[in-house]
């Protein structure tokens, strides 16, 4: 009898805990520890954020159908940033939080084809179709950007730059908040603009 009761009760408790979890975990905040995550990458590996402690980490929310993401990739700006910063030892994760059936959802092989076609150079592309990492960081848009310092603290969260448009011509004159944050932090300075409105398309959870 007790065993039976237990077997009925346990799933209920687990369901309750699962439901409550997203409410209990607070989103990433500037100056606070970056929430830990692990995810399958399109290259087949499973990656954990804590494995990269001691390095700067950039998180880039991605959706290949979003015109704001398209602006960064068609202009070659995102790839340039990926190459520039990974060349300086920064870890760069492109995060795909679109749910299956929604715009921007891709399989591992589709993502690998896309990375090759666009000549993109992130450290890895993380498949987050459950939206777990997206919710953990309260990612609202693509291309929302987060910068984490070697101590594992969030030092930037927001837009890629100060031109919230889909116009490719706006890339050259824009102030790039991500590069600025990395430059300032690496020079031992305080990040002047640590938070901005992350413009773009809504993340398709």
């Amino acid at each position: 009898m007790t065993n039976m009761k237990r077997s009925i009760l346990y799933p209920t408790v687990i369901v309750l805990v699962l439901c409550a979890a997203p409410l209990l975990i607070s989103a990433a905040k500037i100056g606070e520890a970056a929430p830990e995550f692990s995810a399958a990458a399109s290259n087949g590996k499973t990656l954990r954020l804590s494995d990269y402690h001691g390095k700067y980490v950039v998180l880039e929310w991605h959706n290949n159908g979003c015109p704001y993401v398209g602006k960064q990739y068609k202009s070659g700006n995102m790839q340039r940033m990926q190459k520039q910063w990974t060349g300086q030892g920064v870890v760069w994760f492109t995060i795909l939080s679109s749910a299956p059936g929604k715009q921007g959802y891709v399989t591992a092989s589709e993502e690998n084809d896309y990375l090759a076609k666009m000549q993109a150079a992130p450290t890895a592309a993380l498949l987050d179709s459950t939206g777990e990492i997206g919710h953990l960081y309260d990612a609202k848009t693509s291309p929302q950007m987060v910068v984490i310092n070697p101590q594992g603290v969030v030092i930037y969260d927001g837009a890629i730059d100060d031109k919230p448009t889909t116009d490719l011509n706006d890339v050259p004159g824009a102030t790039n908040y991500v590069s600025l944050a990395l430059e300032q932090a690496m020079a031992g300075k305080q990040v002047a603009t640590p938070a901005t409105r992350p413009y773009g398309c809504s993340v398709k959870y």
Binding site: H135, D138, G200, S202, Y205
Partner: protein, 296 residues
């Protein structure tokens, strides 16, 4: 028989021609396509008068489910951007935006418009503007249209109006009735200055801004049972957070959760308070930090 055929063919061709002509005739004043909708520029007056102000409207019609954005778009998107192409002597003022709606998706809230909206643009004609040939008022409009996904669009719209020395009057021609209705409806939906005896103040608490509205006697006739605040600036309040409404003596309190992106205290909270579709008010309230005030 043959003649009859030829006649019907001719009349068909004629009819087709007439249809084509009609299309061409109306196309100039009619709407230009944008993604999942149309845009047209409309004028309130039949002519421009030198030395007078007048209104133009950018009228958007959208397919069901699609939306465009308010001046502060909220969590995603961007407002329409207009570049006017105007002859010398004419200038455009700041766009007047009707009260927006909260557009809620799974995790975010945008501010914008569905179905249709007219953005009103005040224009000024300098006194030196001589009565001359009709002038062409053009605008290039960049607009982001979204539903589940977003599609950027660009449209070139224009309108030709005569310039006269007589004072302007609202266009009373029958064919202008629809345009006049659009201006009338839009005026009702524009946020108004709050009445002089209303006061607004904001308390900066740890996680929230508490907006207290004192409406004096105004609420007796039309009790206010709900209010939605739309901030003019981005990154001040958490757009997606529910706004807690509490009726208090002579007014109400609205609790607005702070944005995660807000890292510095703000002096004033500016925005639009919407009570119902045609009752929206512009507010600009001082922000106080109760704790800080006590300690100083």
């Amino acid at each position: 028989m043959r003649g009859c055929d030829r006649n019907s063919a001719v009349s068909r061709a004629l009819r087709f021609g007439v249809v084509l002509l009609l299309c061409a005739e109306t196309a100039q004043a009619e709407s230009t396509p944008i993604p999942h909708g149309t845009l047209e520029v409309i004028a309130e007056n039949q002519w421009i008068a030198a030395g007078h102000n007048f209104y133009l409207g950018l009228h958007f019609e959208l397919e069901q489910g699609w939306h465009i954005y308010w001046v502060n778009p909220g969590d995603s998107g961007e407002p329409p951007r207009v570049e006017w192409q105007l002859p010398a002597g004419l200038s455009a003022g700041a766009t007047e935006w009707p009260a927006p709606r909260r557009l809620e998706t799974s995790s975010i809230v945008d501010f914008g418009y569905e179905d249709q909206v007219t953005l009103m643009v005040p224009m000024h004609a300098e006194a030196s503007l001589a009565a001359q040939q009709p002038v062409r008022l053009g605008a290039q409009v960049k607009v982001l249209v979204c539903r589940e996904m977003c599609i950027p669009g660009k449209a070139q719209v224009s309108l030709t109006l005569p310039v006269k020395s007589q004072s302007p009057a609202p266009d009373s021609r029958t064919e202008a009735a629809r345009t006049m209705d659009l201006f009338t409806a839009t005026r009702k939906s524009l946020p108004r200055p709050a009445p002089g005896n209303w006061t607004f103040r904001v308390a900066d608490t740890k996680d929230s801004f508490v907006l207290t509205a004192n409406l004096g006697h105004q609420i007796t006739g039309h009790p206010i049972t709900q209010a939605i605040f739309f901030p003019l600036a981005e990154s001040q309040i958490d757009n997606a957070a529910p706004q807690k409404f509490l009726a208090v003596a002579a007014g109400f309190q609205l609790t607005l959760r702070k944005s995660n992106q807000l890292l510095k205290p703000i002096e004033r909270l500016k925005g639009v308070l919407v009570f119902s579709t045609d009752r929206a008010y512009v507010i600009d309230a001082p922000v106080s930090r109760p704790g800080a005030a006590k300690s100083s």
